[in-house]
Symmetry: C2
Subunit: 340 residues, 2 copies
Amino acid sequence: MGGDHAPAMVVDGAARARERYPDVHYLMVGDEAAIKPLLERNPGLGDRVTLVHTADKIESDMRPSQALRNGKQSSMALAIDAVREGEARCVVSAGNTGALMAISKFKLKTLEGIDRPAIASFFPTSGGESCMLDLGANIQCDAKNLVEFAVMGGVFARTVLGIGNPSVGLLNVGVEDMKGHEELREAAAILREKNLPIDFKGFIEGNDIGKGVVDVVVSDGFTGNVALKSAEGTATLYTTFLRQAFMSSLTARLGYLLAQRALNKLRVRTDPRRYNGAMLLGLNGIVVKSHGGTDDLGFANAVGVAVDMAKHGFLDKIVADFATLRAQDAEPEPSPEAVG
Amino acid sequence: MGGDHAPAMVVDGAARARERYPDVHYLMVGDEAAIKPLLERNPGLGDRVTLVHTADKIESDMRPSQALRNGKQSSMALAIDAVREGEARCVVSAGNTGALMAISKFKLKTLEGIDRPAIASFFPTSGGESCMLDLGANIQCDAKNLVEFAVMGGVFARTVLGIGNPSVGLLNVGVEDMKGHEELREAAAILREKNLPIDFKGFIEGNDIGKGVVDVVVSDGFTGNVALKSAEGTATLYTTFLRQAFMSSLTARLGYLLAQRALNKLRVRTDPRRYNGAMLLGLNGIVVKSHGGTDDLGFANAVGVAVDMAKHGFLDKIVADFATLRAQDAEPEPSPEAVG
């Protein structure tokens, strides 16, 4: 029931996602009276949907604490319950992000060894696709949190983006060792020392994100949120400028018509709906957040992200990597004398 | 002598800037043997240049502390000396940013009432131009620093961008009052309360930067640096994607040829050289930093920024605004009883 165009966008998105994932079964949680007619207009969807009625929902302006307290019968909470009870393998919501994180954390708990879940997303780069986390779940982070984000981002890049040995960088204001906040320098030292299934590249700068210098960009949630939104804002600005340029003369319009096919491919490549679906990583369950303002195509992609994570055993891989990390933490460090 | 293509780019840039500012006189500080032949190839420039010879220069990889200690006879230090001694009204350098800030701070000092200088720059938005600060001089900032940045940015927008009552926003992860770091919330409270010649708009998000929601974007130096570079990286990425689209078929190439004039205007509008020239604000002197990798056109624009600041009495306006701020700080706050 969350999102600007819910529940129509959700139901139509679910129908669309079945074109790519015909074996998916949906538990749809929400207002039966609103959802039923939508199911009817999507032939073939109805028999893959179990409808769970609730009249209650989380409003988009509810504070997380309020949502936790008052939203026990909300569609969001019941959908998360279904994951906890093993009735569903993942949950996808276009609702209130803070509430989704708070209720998920409360009901699903974090995986062993993980202090704080993070929000991750992926986006186009000149070389393909990269992912970035945290995008806003944790405004303040210490070195340990950043190391955990690096490990989780690595698993995401391996399982969903299909990158064998993903490269990971810490977002900073320069690449030199002495740059940035203390916690960044400390996290870099830990990541350099540990033997993890990632290729740690050290610090990267904001302009390295679009270049695709690394597969996984790690930062605290404040910086990551600002970086991603600045990039989105610039993309929108360029699209506006480009449209204005093509409309500025008759010759330019003609040029646009000729280049239209090629430009449409560019539009598809950079379509934000294609990159819709932020992952709440570190929870004992798969939770995907769709943009609230997306349409059915965008929502279908968010469903796809959740299905990919479930299919590729995302949670098991996270657990395995964190076991590796903890095993190394347990080993006593060799003393300088022993090394000398 | 600083920058990738110095001193040729600096001398050619100075010549180019004279087309727009024919009354500018230059003190050029650096290696006479390298600069003299360059002056000769720019007819008419020579008689507007006083050459100050020094063989010494700040290397691009020098740490600020090292530059301060060992760079006393460097071209950068001598150029800043000229501003301190009143022989020049502003200094423009394409050299090491950290060294430029450290030497400027040491020699020129900060203006009364300003704790920490900041680096500011301006950039295109859908509505025109905005400026952002701090871009990296201060990795950690408290509320007082952010308030000072807001005032300085406001003066910059009024004097150089020519905006009467500039709107100012604090960069955050959401627009609601409870969002973000403590120092942001505290700075917002102060800015709301004071009577300053700016139109304070509260918090803005990363995607509001490109929209031009405010004329002045204020943040700590870490966040500002990441935001600006992320935006720059995205702009580069889009340019690459666009080029690839136009090269992808013969029809698309033909379309490009037809739209070329319009697209060139777009290129000029978003040309990073046009926005070259970061200001070191808060110092008792005008210091402008050019990108190290720019060419003569970019350097000429950095010279233009410095000239505009000097011509429009930037320093006097900063001093006046800070006097206003201090006067309000000095007023006793009305007690709740008195208000009630």
